[in-house]
């Protein structure tokens, strides 16, 4: 199997690390080799955060080179746009259509970019209303798991593998909400 590269981007606190761990658990079931890279520390305090999952027969680098990601899972629009050049041509940008203003935008120093979806050319952009779906599932913080549901459907591995990965990585008391969020994402597109 050729290596498959997923970049997960978002804002500190949105659960990118949890998402990479769930996807990593799935990857460990379906591929011989897996690597995940995450950054902790200062970047978690509301900063731009990226984590990366690579899987296939033999994975060396834990980080994805620019222009080689098969999928970007973006929890926020500006972050999607920021990391867009990491996608391959015709790669998949799976994006939560939520805007979270960074401090320079809040302070009026620079505007939030407009029409982000249309500006990301030569890739497939799927814009998902993940925030209302997460809220519907019972927790606005489950945006990450809604998107993971959408991704799961696209990747096509057994749904049970994803469900097991959720169980293994999500604390028991949040499991029901997250399973609901996952299903809402999974059933969003045919």
């Amino acid at each position: 199997m050729q290596n498959f590269n997923i970049l997960i981007v978002g804002v500190g606190g949105q659960g990118t690390i949890l998402a990479s761990r769930i996807i990593g658990s799935v990857a460990a079931q379906v591929a011989k080799d897996v690597k995940i890279s995450e950054i902790h520390g200062m970047s978690q305090r509301g900063g731009s955060v990226i984590t990366q999952v690579r899987f296939g027969d033999k994975v060396y680098s834990p980080v994805i080179a620019e222009g080689t990601a098969d999928v970007i899972l973006a929890f926020e629009e500006l972050e999607a746009f920021r990391w867009y050049p990491y996608l391959k041509k015709q790669g998949l940008m799976l994006m939560n259509n939520q805007e979270i203003d960074p401090m320079p935008v809040i302070m009026g120093i620079i505007p939030y970019p407009v029409n982000i979806s249309e500006k990301m050319l030569e890739v497939e952009v799927v814009s998902v209303p993940a925030l209302p779906l997460a809220t519907q599932a019972g927790n606005s913080k489950a945006v990450n798991v809604v998107l993971m549901g959408v991704l799961a459907k696209r990747l096509g591995y057994e749904k049970s593998v994803w469900q097991e990965a959720l169980k293994a990585n999500v604390p028991a008391k949040f499991l029901t909400v997250n399973e609901e969020a996952f299903d809402l994402g999974y059933n969003l597109y045919e």
Binding site: P62, G67, P104, E122
Partner: protein, 579 residues
């Protein structure tokens, strides 16, 4: 089939310590090293694991433990080794008894650090072996081997991780614990009491040890040669090996697992067996300089960067390759990390801004207040420097300058190395005002306990340091404590203390908002009838208050937790608590 599981490098080190029969582990938290001790504390009861107040103490506890016979792990971030350098430089003379491995987690690219020093230089300086794993599997297996080397050669071992090896996950095979037990302890003053007369006898032993280690490294299984196309040879180590394999799959590679002392014969043979040889290493030309000193021809920092973290792209670029496919040319807003909504530090920096004070800053979440709009910091150098540097500022420019300056330090950093600075202010007649931001935890690294928390790494209650009593004991008579969420009380206390011509401390308290069950759970809303769009609320720099092009604030309800700092700053009472 042997079970392989996904682990971060830090989790793998914790596992390696368990399997190697380690019984004592110490650390001060620091990104990217923190999770090693957290994992030991959580999963391996066989190991006595504890947070030390700082890295010097951590290593000294480790030294005592190793000398009396226990396999001992000590972990810290790269700059922590600066703090621990004093014991390290002498411990290399005594040697160990029970094995001791010092993990230094370096941070090339400074994801979460104030510098990007390459701590392999420390290993060479201390004349101790350096091991550099390239993934989690090696982090575990090398660590176990590091203990064998430590005991065989009677030396501490420097185990060099980087952010990418510590925080990347890969598959690891687990094994059983090897209960090595304690080695016998026999009093040996000639070896363990470093009087000048004894130390003079120990130094030649250290030099002989380096030669023996270099000999060992010639045939060690820590290094491996992957011979392919002989046109190009690459010598590399650590995470960079992975990028090399990714970008140059056809090249021959000498992967060094032990990078000090280097195996001269092995390296010479490899270089002479290829047409052109490159040394690719992050940060310092550590391997490169030694090889060049031997007179061998290699290419290194002539083509690869000296600064920052490497990536596949950086190596590809040096060889004229480019994966890059899509471009994005628009100038985008940066997204710097910020103080969390409800962070108890926010009111302090709001008050400091209002009083127009200079800030001698320190290392912690509150360093984030250096950024706009709080702009709350003049200097930030290293752990504990806020207090001593404030004293230096007063000595240079006098009392009036001190009246316009505060030192700002967190509880954990104060425990780490602020106490001696405060003692110095009293001792040498300073009048500085020190603000201790006591949020009851070591927050920036992800909520680790410290002596002022009153809870240990193993989550056991312990005697808590009484900060007020401690300050009094050091000779500070003016000590005030205020609630961080009471904005006017914070401002009043700071104003009073900078105005007093004697040393003073203001302890500003509230648990870190990320501590489970400790933060506020309310919400603020904007009363549009009262709001005059004056922009005062923007000055607190809360990410939950946004403007979306208008002057009237909008509260982000997913982020706001109702700390009410903004409500106290609003002159019109327009930010109201949702009842």
């Amino acid at each position: 089939m042997i079970k392989k599981i996904l682990m971060t490098g830090n989790e793998a080190i914790a596992r390696g310590a368990y399997e190697a029969g380690v019984t004592v582990a110490t650390a001060y938290p620091g990104t990217p090293s923190t999770e090693i001790l957290e994992n030991i504390g959580k999963h391996y009861n066989e190991i006595s694991a504890e947070w030390s107040p700082n890295e010097k103490v951590a290593l000294e506890v480790g030294i005592g433990s190793a000398i009396v016979g226990a396999r001992t792990l000590v972990t810290m971030k790269h700059v922590g080794v600066n703090v621990a350098a004093d014991p390290l430089m002498s411990f290399t003379y005594t040697g160990v008894n029970g094995g001791l491995v010092l993990v230094s987690a370096d941070d090339p690219g400074m994801h979460s650090s104030q510098n990007e020093q390459d701590n392999r230089v420390f290993g060479k300086f201390a004349k101790i072996p350096i091991l550099e794993p390239a993934d989690s599997g090696e982090a575990k297996s090398f660590l176990i081997q590091a203990f064998d080397i430590s005991e065989k050669f009677d030396t501490p071992v420097l185990f060099r991780m980087t952010t990418r090896t510590s925080h990347a996950q890969s598959l690891v095979e687990l094994a059983e614990r090897n209960e090595v037990g304690l080695r016998p302890y026999v009093k040996n003053t000639m070896k363990n009491v470093l009087l000048p007369a004894h130390a003079r006898l120990r130094h030649p032993i250290v030099e002989e040890r380096v030669l023996k280690l270099a000999e060992y490294n010639e045939t060690s299984n820590l290094n491996k040669i992957e011979m392919q196309d002989k046109k190009m040879g690459i010598i590399t180590s650590g995470a960079v090996y992975q990028y090399v394999k990714e970008v140059l799959p056809e090249a021959s590679v000498l992967k060094l697992g032990m990078t000090y002392p280097l195996p001269k014969k092995l390296i010479t043979e490899f270089i002479t067996s290829v047409d052109t040889c490159y040394v690719i290493e992050e940060l310092e030309p550590f391997i490169e300089d030694q090889i060049k000193a031997w007179g061998l021809k290699i290419i290194g920092k002539e083509v690869f960067p000296l600064l920052g973290e490497f990536s596949p792209e950086i190596i590809a670029k040096a060889f004229g390759k480019d994966y890059h496919a899509l471009t994005q040319t628009e100038k985008l807003p940066v997204r710097p990390p910020v103080l969390c909504p409800g962070c108890p530090h926010r009111s302090v920096f709001y008050a400091i801004g209002k009083l127009k004070l200079r800030v001698s800053g320190d290392i912690g979440c509150y360093t984030l207040a250096a950024a706009p709009p709080l702009n709350g910091m003049d200097t930030c150098i290293c752990m504990g420097a806020s207090i001593s540097a404030a004293h230096g500022m007063e000595k240079a420019r006098g009392r009036e300058f001190a009246a316009g300056t505060v030192a700002v330090i967190g509880d954990s950093t104060f425990m780490h190395s602020g106490i001696t600075g405060l003692m110095d202010i009293v001792y040498n007649g300073g009048t500085s005002t020190v603000l201790i931001l006591d949020n009851d935890i070591t927050a920036m690294t992800g909520q680790q306990e410290n002596p002022a928390t009153g809870i240990t790494l193993k989550k056991q209650l312990t005697r808590k340091v009484d900060l007020e009593l401690l300050c009094h004991a050091l000779g500070i008579e003016r000590v005030q404590s205020v609630d961080a969420y009471d904005v006017s009380a914070v401002e009043k206390a700071i104003k009073e203390e900078v105005g007093a011509a004697e040393p003073s401390v203001v302890i500003i308290r509230r648990p870190c908002v990320l501590l489970k069950g400790k933060g506020p759970t309310g919400m603020v809303h904007v009363n549009k009838d009262k709001c005059k769009s004056c922009g005062m609320c923007a000055k607190v720099g809360c990410p939950a208050i946004v403007f979306k092009g208008s002057k009237m604030p909008i509260i982000n309800e997913t982020l706001c937790n109702g700390c009410l700092v903004c409500a106290q700053v609003c002159p019109f009472g327009a930010l109201e608590e949702v009842k």
